[in-house]
């Protein structure tokens, strides 16, 4: 199941940062993951666990 993100750019940002989108809480409508959410997660001091999918 795909996690709803605001854009392919944000998906790419997450992928490049090794971020598992399933671990990100979206702050957009219906929990949509926005650029700001991914940027915040990537900037977080303790990196989110990366799933080995």
């Amino acid at each position: 199941v795909r996690v709803p993100v605001v854009s392919p750019l944000v998906r790419r940002l997450a992928k490049e940062g090794g971020l598992d989108l399933a671990s990100v809480r979206g702050t957009g409508p219906e929990g949509l993951i926005m650029r700001r959410d991914v940027e915040a997660a990537l900037a977080a001091p303790v990196p989110a666990p990366v799933s080995s999918s």
Binding site: V6, S7, P8, V10, G28, P29, E30
Partner: protein, 460 residues
């Protein structure tokens, strides 16, 4: 009609909002009834988007023909044959209408011809019969508005409905209202040879646009000889021997053969049983939440009937949203800032997202960066002999939050602008993609390159 009057979904009104909802709902397996008193396609197809754009294209052809010598083509412009223009326009509408009817059939939507009325929260009455649905969608659209005391006689004082059916080119015309519809008709008629004057009470044409776009359109219209009176309200109109004389609050008067009233459109909701069914209304509009749900469970409303942007594609989006919401697909609500807007005049005005002023109100004066790329630097625009600008509004160190374009054919660039805006792209993410040369999309690319700090065809 099927013997069974029980449907999953009953839709009242077959315009852009209603039929899009019907198509998507049928797709999702619902049994759908679509009640329409006139023709599927509604305002947009029969009295709006499509016929106006056909007239505008005929106008473009007329201008091309008149100005052919500038491009080395020897030609004589012999005038507008309004009967033939109307045949062309009606031909386009007719073909698309046939297409729509085909889809209604193919998707097995029950089309019910007749004027409907909501008689309970799940029942529409039409031709004396009750049609019930697990859900009901109100999509009765809008009609031209007038001003208090201003009577539209359909002859010398007309609405867009009449303007689209004129069988002659007026020698002169007053257009009351400088919004999208007013500016489109001004453009068409000027191309056809009419002496046009727009009266707009606000200080600018297309006043909903970024001020830069308004100013560029005003400059272009001035060059085309389209006159306008801005910043003073219309105060009245009287008949003259062969036409009309409009007065403006500053004391000026304008005479012409006819006056087009383009002061907006009002919802079609009176007498349709909405209020009686307990549906919350606001000045004739049906109130809805972000899923287009009215105050009555099971009843939705979409399109020009609700107080969102009056655009066909907004109707499509709302219709689709409702069908998906009913089907439990959990669609995301519509981001209305993310809807593209186009005025199809010559030149076109196209925009996405926030104006500079709106962006500054949201992010602060220091939180906003803008760049205006002049089409003078764009090869393809030079070839078309069009001028204008692509203005981009960026949140400082952040994504693009507005794109505002003026110039011929800019309406098609809004497709790219739409992705940039809705996908929260940073200027540098666009700037790294080199655009096709020579194209007008390059102007968008150049603006992004400039904002990303790497201007290419830009004079420093």
């Amino acid at each position: 009609m099927a013997g069974d009057n029980q449907f999953d979904l009953v839709i009242l009104g077959g315009g852009s909002g209603g039929y899009a909802c019907a198509f998507r709902a049928a797709d999702l397996g619902m049994r759908v009834a679509l009640v329409e008193k006139a023709e599927v396609g509604g305002t947009c197809l029969h009295r709006g988007c499509i016929p106006t754009k056909a007239l505008l294209h005929a106008g473009e052809v007329a201008d091309n023909t008149r100005e052919a010598a500038q491009f080395g083509v020897a030609a004589t412009f012999n005038g507008i044959d309004m009967a033939a223009v109307n045949a062309y326009k009606d031909g386009v509408v007719g073909q698309l209408y046939k297409g729509l009817q085909g889809i209604v059939k193919a998707r097995k939507i029950e089309f019910i011809a007749g004027e409907g009325r909501l008689v309970s929260s799940n029942t529409v009455q039409v031709n004396g019969e009750n049609i019930t649905g697990a859900n009901v969608v109100l999509a009765t659209g809008s009609v031209p508005k007038s001003l208090p005391g201003l009577e539209i006689d359909g002859d010398r004082i007309i609405s867009s409905d009449h303007a689209l059916k004129l069988d002659y080119v007026p020698a002169s015309a007053i257009i009351l209202g400088g919004g999208v519809i007013g500016c489109e008709f001004a453009s068409v008629w000027k191309s056809f040879g009419t002496d046009v004057t727009i009266i707009e009470g606000l200080p600018h044409l297309v006043p909903a646009e970024d001020e830069n776009s308004s100013k560029l359109l005003e400059r272009a219209f001035r060059r085309r000889g389209i006159k306008y009176e801005l910043g003073n309200f219309f105060s009245g109109v009287e008949y003259t021997e062969n036409g009309v004389r409009a007065s403006i609050a500053n004391g000026k008067t304008v005479e012409a053969d006819l006056m087009l009233v383009a002061v907006g459109r009002g919802p079609v909701s009176a007498g349709l049983g909405y209020e009686e069914a307990g549906i919350a209304m606001d000045r004739g509009y049906v109130k809805v939440d972000q899923y287009c749900r009215t105050s009555v469970p099971g009843v939705y409303a979409v399109g020009d009937l609700i107080p969102t942007l009056q655009l066909a594609h907004v109707g499509f989006a709302e219709g689709i949203l409702v069908a998906e919401h009913i089907a439990g697909l959990n669609p995301a609500p519509i981001d209305y800032d993310g809807v593209p807007r186009v005025t199809y005049s010559h030149p076109e005005v196209a925009s996405m997202g926030l104006s500079e002023a709106q962006a500054k109100a949201r992010y602060g004066d220091a939180g906003v960066k803008t760049f205006n790329y002049d089409l003078a630097g764009n090869g393809k625009s030079k070839i078309l002999k069009t001028s204008g600008q692509v203005k981009v509004v960026q949140q400082v160190d952040g994504p693009v939050v507005g794109v505002h374009m003026v110039g011929d054919r800019m309406g098609e660039l809004v497709g790219e602008a739409q992705l940039i805006f809705n996908w929260e792209a940073l200027p540098q993410e666009v700037a790294q993609l080199v655009h096709a040369h020579p194209s007008q999309t390059e102007a968008l690319g150049e603006a992004m390159m400039a904002l990303a700090g790497k201007p290419l065809h830009v004079h420093d």
